[in-house]
């Protein structure tokens, strides 16, 4: 097996891993096989590996071919929560999405409230459920200890063409009232694994 084949082999293995378990967190000193994207964690000792999808070959093709997507509960509220996280963690929309900043859970809830106009109880429940779904699929990272949220490695797979839409979206989301940002004492009910 020559070097090229070895690299192909490695790429195939990594793609399979990422396909099965989402973006992978590895030590920063390891190699990056071709066809993979390297996203440095803050601190620099660990990196996320995720796949580089060729343009026109991403999940958007599913819609084009009218094939079913993975089923997602509450797709609209989940997307809104992701938008709220985007607003809270992407401090400089002219820059790259990754790694973004860390935002407390209360701020996400407040942004979601400002976004949807739901009351606090409804918002809190929706955000808890959506954060759980989104952190499972790698769209955001939830830290149980500090009760903070930041953008997950999957956001780096958004193509450059989509970033302009996201910037527009970022600008259109209202900034929540400072007073509305409560450091909610209530616990995240359920686990976030």
């Amino acid at each position: 097996m020559n070097a090229h084949e070895t690299a192909l082999h490695q790429t195939a293995l990594w793609w399979a891993r990422i396909r099965a378990a989402g973006p992978q967190l590895v030590d920063a000193d390891g190699p990056t096989p071709p066809g993979l994207m390297r996203l440095a964690e803050p601190g620099g000792s660990r990196v996320w590996l995720t796949t580089v999808l060729p343009g026109g070959a991403g999940p958007a093709v599913l819609d084009e071919l009218d094939l079913p997507r993975p089923v997602l509960e509450q797709p609209n509220d989940t997307a809104r929560v992701l938008a709220a996280v985007l607003k809270s963690c992407w401090l400089d929309p002219s820059g790259p999405l990754w790694p973004g900043a860390t935002a407390p859970f209360g701020q996400i809830v407040a942004t979601f409230e400002a976004l949807t106009g739901h009351d606090e109880v409804v918002s809190h429940r929706a955000v808890v459920a959506a954060v759980r779904r989104l952190s499972w699929s790698g769209w955001l990272l939830w830290d149980e200890q500090t009760r903070t949220v930041r953008l997950g490695p999957r956001v780096a797979t958004w193509a450059a063409t989509e970033l302009s839409t996201l910037r527009e979206l970022w600008r259109s989301i209202p900034v929540p009232d400072k007073a509305a940002v409560r450091d909610t004492e209530t616990e995240m009910d359920g686990d976030t694994s």
């Binding site: 997307a79 949807t116 769209w139």
Partner: protein, 422 residues
């Protein structure tokens, strides 16, 4: 009313015997030709398999020689089809005179076949197999031969050019209307109109060049031919463009006929098959959000939150109690004003005209007011008190007029503001 006979269009009365005979012969040929396509008298076949039956029957006649065949012999000669079908087709061919009695007499059982139906059949076969391409090529070759014949005259050239013009115009029209209005699938089904047709144009151009050099007076007809050729070329271009565009944007794998996909799938090795999906990842193992989907979700949330709701209302809005509706009542205010006026008059009593304090002179009230604005207000109040139904005061005017230029107001009408007698 005109006396035109209804027969004029169908059978001209002044037709000579010769002409009538010629027309009958032409009609007979047409009937023979189309016999192979007839399902029953007056209708087209619905099943392409019937053509095979016809072919078998006609082949049997070719084998039979000059003696001809009876219906029973034809059935025997075509063992691959069942007897009923053969007999039915046989009768039909006979009705259309594609086969006729060897000797025209009653009870003649032997029939002979005309050759035209078989030629037509061969032609139809070729047409269905190759989409008429090679026939078109051959026609064009024939046209070219026609116009290069040494004994050809200008009329031949003109007729030839006119035929070619019509062919290409029809082709171009069909293709162009498909491109403009048809679905991509319809265009694909008619794609044989597209394949390799550059050579058709080249052939036609050769014939065109020959005509133009031999008979320069046909320049106008040749120009028409050139126009229809160009239109056809354009239609090919735009049809090809449309097909490519469809294939590029929709990944409509159905653009190729199903048979092509089948033979590709059957005839290719795993390696070849795998290359088809090179560079394609359709998989979304986890939920995926496109930027557009995010924006839409946020937008819909905003719309839902932005709807202005009607303020809550009671379940059963009852009409307000009519008895409860009372006009704003200033009776108390007015009463106190009236008492104040009367009391003031009593306090400053220097006339003995009102011993009871029951009335006051309007002129006195106004002269004591001081300025016009107050006068006006007092007058208005007194008028209102006078008119109020619940108050027992009245304003009585008399004819006198008090004029004094030194005072303000300088003149006043005499009158009394008085308590009503109960």
């Amino acid at each position: 009313m005109g006396m035109t006979s209804p027969l004029d269009t169908t059978s001209p009365v002044d037709m000579t015997l010769d002409e009538a005979a010629t027309e009958a012969a032409v009609l007979r040929l047409y009937r023979q030709i189309f016999a192979v396509l007839a399902r029953e008298a007056g209708a087209m076949i619905m099943d392409a398999g019937l053509i095979d039956v016809d072919e078998a029957i006609l082949e049997a006649f070719a084998e039979a020689g000059s003696d001809g065949l009876t219906a029973a012999e034809a059935v025997a000669a075509c063992p691959q089809f069942d007897a009923v079908t053969i007999e039915r087709r046989f009768g039909l061919l006979r009705d259309y005179r594609a086969i006729s009695k060897v000797v025209d007499r009653k009870n003649e059982q032997h029939y002979r076949a005309a050759f035209a139906p078989y030629v037509m059949l061969l032609f139809l076969r070729r047409l269905t197999e190759r989409g008429g391409q090679s026939e078109l090529h051959q026609l064009l070759t024939l046209e070219h031969l026609n116009v290069t014949k040494p004994d050809a005259v200008a009329a031949d050239g003109q007729a030839s050019v006119a035929r070619m013009t019509k062919i290409f115009r029809l082709l171009a029209n069909e293709l162009a209307s498909l491109v403009q209005r048809g679905a991509a699938e319809a265009l694909r089904e008619n794609a044989q109109l597209l394949w390799g047709n550059r050579s058709l144009i080249t052939q036609a151009e050769e014939a065109h060049a020959t005509v133009l050099t031999r008979w320069p007076e046909l320049a106008t007809d040749c120009a028409l031919l050139r126009i229809s050729l160009a239109a056809y070329g354009d239609a090919i271009e735009s049809a090809a463009g449309r097909l490519l565009e469809q294939a590029g944007t929709t990944r409509a794998l159905g653009l190729l006929p199903a048979e092509t996909w089948l033979s590709f799938a059957r005839g290719s090795g795993p390696q070849t098959l795998a290359t088809v999906l090179d560079g394609f990842v359709f998989d979304a193992p986890a939920p995926w959000f496109s930027a557009q989907a995010l924006a839409e979700a946020v937008e819909s949330a905003r719309q839902a939150g932005g709807i202005r709701l009607r303020p809550p209302r009671p379940e059963n809005p009852e009409p307000a109690d009519p008895a409860g509706i009372v006009p704003a009542d200033d009776a108390a205010d007015l009463r106190s004003s009236a008492e104040r006026l009367l009391a003031a008059a009593e306090a400053s009593r220097d006339n003995s005209e009102d011993p009871d304090g029951e009335r006051v002179s309007v002129a006195d009230v106004l002269s004591g007011a001081g300025d016009w604005a107050t006068c006006r207000r007092l007058l208005a109040e007194m008028t209102a008190i006078h008119h109020h139904p619940d108050l027992g005061y009245e304003l009585i005017w008399s004819d006198g007029l008090r004029i004094d230029p030194e005072r303000s107001p300088s003149w006043t009408t005499e009158g009394w503001f008085a308590r009503k007698d109960r």
